[in-house]
């Protein structure tokens, strides 16, 4: 079974803004704020008039990214207390999105996955969402056995937070689920054998 070097592994190409879009939705988490802030000097007021920015500070709380984003004066700026509540707002945004709307997602690997999963639920093609990885490499992983998703996985193997099986995290990635695949690592071994987890997705 191939674990690494799998071509479905997502490539995050960056959130270079698409000036031809009529409306811009940004879903940003933590250090992901910098992905927009870095481009801001080159963007004008007319651009920000067409922007909606959702931001969850997460691990980057206290670094002032929220204030910096607010100073851009987007048409809508909403800081949410958690990623969960950001996703709730994102669903609201997408439910009234019109043709010509662009979605940009920047933040940790797991955050990007969760946003992609929400976008897929609105029939958005994964290829049209621009993504940028900033911050945590911890992964969102689907257990192939019980189908439960575990967030923020930084070790492999890890115990599935739903069924408890020891899962090896593969590079195989589903954009629809926004998740990597976790597969039982010790199915072919005597029950006594155990492996020490290693921190691999920092």
């Amino acid at each position: 079974m191939l674990v690494e070097g799998i071509t479905s592994r997502p490539v995050h190409g960056g959130i270079q803004v698409d000036l031809f879009a009529r409306r811009h939705f940004f879903a940003l988490e933590g250090e992901g704020a910098l992905a927009l802030l870095a481009q801001a000097p080159a963007l004008d007021e007319a651009f920000f008039d067409r922007c909606e920015v959702l931001y969850a500070a997460a691990d980057a709380a206290g670094r002032g990214y929220d204030e910096a984003l607010a100073r851009l004066k987007p048409d809508l700026f909403r800081q949410t207390p958690t990623v969960e509540t950001l996703l709730f707002r994102l669903r609201g945004c997408l439910s009234r999105a019109t043709m010509g709307t662009r979605l940009y997602v920047a933040g940790g690997e797991g955050f990007i996955g969760r946003c992609m999963n929400v976008a897929a639920g609105f029939g958005m093609d994964a290829g049209t969402v621009l993504t940028e990885h900033r911050g945590s490499a911890a992964r969102r992983v689907q257990c192939v056995h019980c189908k439960g998703i575990t967030e923020d996985v930084s070790e492999s193997p890890f115990a599935c937070s739903h069924c408890g099986l020891n899962l090896l995290v593969r590079d195989h990635y589903s954009k629809r689920l926004g998740a990597f695949q976790g597969v039982c690592i010790d199915a072919e071994e005597p029950v006594s054998a155990s492996r020490t987890p290693e921190e691999v997705f920092q």
Binding site: L2, T7, L165, D171, Y173
Partner: protein, 346 residues
């Protein structure tokens, strides 16, 4: 001639066996003494009587038992059937194709009568006699792909064609070699082939995709794929891997002949008329090593193929723990004599 359907199981007591006649028609996939990945695609045209190519959708003595096993899998895990909403028209295309092919190949077992949109489908082996309206979902007990998939040997994937790529947007998959439909649904050709070693670097998937995008209506194609399975288990899904994985540790020099099976997939690809999507049928055939060595040419050749198989493929196919034991056992059936070209028994 009517097929004698066997009563057998693919789990628990594993009573699955091939009759001598069925061994003879087994699709042994190796036309030479070694194996490497290649774009092995050829036209899927009817072949000689008494071979699996006699009908384009092959039905054999395992039909009834396989359908019973599929029903069990679907009952435990309905996610083995998935279809994205835009695939409904393609589903009807598939239902039509599989009904037509099975009725044409086996009129004593299946019949399809059409009266405009009112269709009557009789499946005698499974005791089904249904009348429905083609195109009207509510006139069938399941969505069309699941309905006909519960009556067709082999896993079914429907791939949509757009943006110069193929997208796995529907499927009924219960006999797979360790890949998950639930995980792969919505992926494109390169993404779902992501876990395959070596082939990407060899350009095989680029060439295969290019070829498939031009697949023509009425000109289906086929290829073989193969792996090995311990015990004649159809449901070697990743979903249940934590239950069957241990089988791989149970092979011994004494039981290898009975336990280890060659698992061949006859894959056929069909352009669909209304939707322009494509049907990919993955028909699985299982044969134990004991059965395989009853054909001397196959015994010699498979021994050589397995012995020289690149380690990457041994690992990918999950054979690492029992390959050597199997090669050792097969060596007793290989006298070193040359083998004739082609896949058929001498």
């Amino acid at each position: 001639m009517a097929i004698m359907f066997r009563q057998e199981t693919f789990r628990d007591d594993f009573t699955y066996r091939n009759s001598p006649a069925n061994i003879h028609r087994f699709p042994f996939p190796f036309d030479r003494d070694e194996y490497a990945y290649s774009v092995n695609i050829e036209p899927h045209v009817p072949g000689r009587k008494g071979t699996i190519y006699e009908s384009l959708i092959d039905v054999d003595e395992h039909y009834v038992a396989e359908m019973a096993d599929r029903a069990l899998v679907l009952k435990e895990d309905p996610l083995r059937y998935q279809a994205l909403p835009h695939m409904m028209q393609a589903q009807w295309d598939v239902l039509e194709l599989l009904m037509e092919q099975q009725a044409a190949g086996y009129p004593e077992h299946f019949s399809l009568t059409r009266n405009g949109d009112r269709w009557r489908w009789i499946n005698r082996p499974l005791g089904i006699d249904d009348t429905f309206t083609f195109g009207a979902r509510e006139t069938l007990p399941y969505e069309p792909l699941e309905y006909i998939g519960r009556q067709t040997q082999g896993d079914l994937c429907i791939v949509d064609q757009r943006d110069n790529n193929l997208w796995m947007d529907a499927g009924l998959v219960t006999t797979q070699a360790d890949w998950s439909l639930d995980f792969d649904v919505g992926m494109n050709f390169m993404e779902w082939h992501g876990p395959v070693p070596l082939a990407h670097g060899m350009g095989i998937f680029d060439r295969a995709l290019k070829f498939l995008l031009n697949l023509q209506l009425g000109q289906p194609v086929r290829r073989f794929n193969w792996t090995m399975t311990v015990n004649p288990r159809l449901d070697t899904s990743p979903e249940n891997y934590h239950k069957w994985g241990r089988d791989r540790t149970t092979v011994t020099p004494v039981n290898v002949g009975r336990k280890v099976h060659l698992r061949v997939e006859l894959q056929t690809l069909w352009r669909l008329p209304r939707s322009n999507a494509m049907l990919f049928v993955i028909r699985c055939y299982l044969m134990s090593m004991e059965e395989l060595v009853t054909v001397p040419k196959w015994a010699r050749r498979f021994h050589r193929v397995l012995k020289t198989l690149p380690q990457e493929l041994v690992d990918y196919k999950g054979m690492t723990r029992y390959r050597d034991t199997t090669v050792e056992w097969l060596s007793r059936h290989d006298d070193g004599a040359p083998t004739s070209p082609g896949i058929w028994p001498d």
